[in-house]
């Protein structure tokens, strides 16, 4: 078998500044369409104020994550970044905390995730068009 790759993009325009969206079914569909049986998929936010992470799809936990991030990097603190005229210093720091990308295994043509693992897009400076690149690589 030869190496094959497939690239797709997921676009987001969230209604609020901070949102957490479960994108697992969409990543699964991109993997399925790629035809890759054995390999990996990169899911990467193409922005510096958003992130991608893997964790549980449980509403309480998502609220906990949001409160934890807000505690560590509160909105509208006197960030030096705001001297540029920007107001999203917290979003940059939150993005660093959850990281901007994940690499997931593809086995037998499907995402090889643990029983509770789900892929999330974390938006920290929303209400505008942003995107995630999904790149599948393998045989």
């Amino acid at each position: 078998m030869s190496l094959r790759t497939a690239t797709d993009y997921l676009w987001f325009n969230t209604r609020t500044k901070r949102e957490y969206l479960n994108i697992t079914p969409h990543v699964e569909e991109i993997v399925r369409k790629s035809g890759v049986q054995e390999g990996m998929v990169l899911v990467s936010a193409m922005h510096i104020t958003a992130g991608v992470y893997v964790n549980d799809a449980e509403d309480g936990l998502i609220q906990d994550i949001d409160e934890w991030l807000e505690e560590l990097a509160p909105f509208n603190k006197g960030y030096r970044h705001h001297r540029t005229g920007e107001t999203n210093g917290d979003a940059h720091l939150k993005s660093l905390l959850v990281h901007h990308e994940v690499i997931l295994p593809v086995t037998g043509g499907v995402l090889d995730l643990g029983p509770w693992q789900q892929v999330y897009y974390a938006e920290f400076d929303g209400c505008r068009r942003k995107r995630v690149v999904v790149k599948v690589m393998g045989e």
Partner: protein, 125 residues
């Protein structure tokens, strides 16, 4: 909705302002509108008013029952119903998944209400 057989519209959207704006604009066009703010309530209304609802507009990211599941269920309940999915998430894969689930069309947010209403009217005529 008895006088509007097949011309009723069900809007399932948890964003209240958008749902109400849609409802007002469609009612001004003479349509009979039902509203639900989550997927479960949407499904219940759809089952109760299956004969009257000719068009379902649903967000994808909904509490309780996901929009994609609601679309699939609506298509099973009424093969001739028109279904439009909407979402702040978009892209070819999202569009294709919505159509595959059973929708007739997909509208990415944000959209111009006037353009969306024109598209919905055309679908119902």
């Amino acid at each position: 909705m008895a006088d509007h057989a097949g011309k009723g519209v069900l809007i399932v959207e948890d964003e209240q302002e958008l749902r109400q704006l849609f409802a007002i604009l469609l009612e001004m066009e003479g349509f009979s509108v039902l509203q639900a703010d989550d997927g479960k309530q949407g499904l219940e209304l759809l089952e109760k008013h299956a004969a009257e609802v000719g068009l379902l507009i649903t967000d994808l990211n909904l509490p309780r029952v996901a929009g994609m599941d609601l679309i699939a269920r609506a298509r099973l309940l009424n093969p001739s119903i028109k279904i439009v999915g909407t979402s702040g998430m978009s892209g070819k894969t999202v569009h294709d998944m919505v159509i595959k689930a059973g929708a007739d069309d997909f509208i990415a947010k944000p959209f111009k209400p006037s353009e969306a209403i024109a598209k919905l009217k055309a679908m119902l005529q």
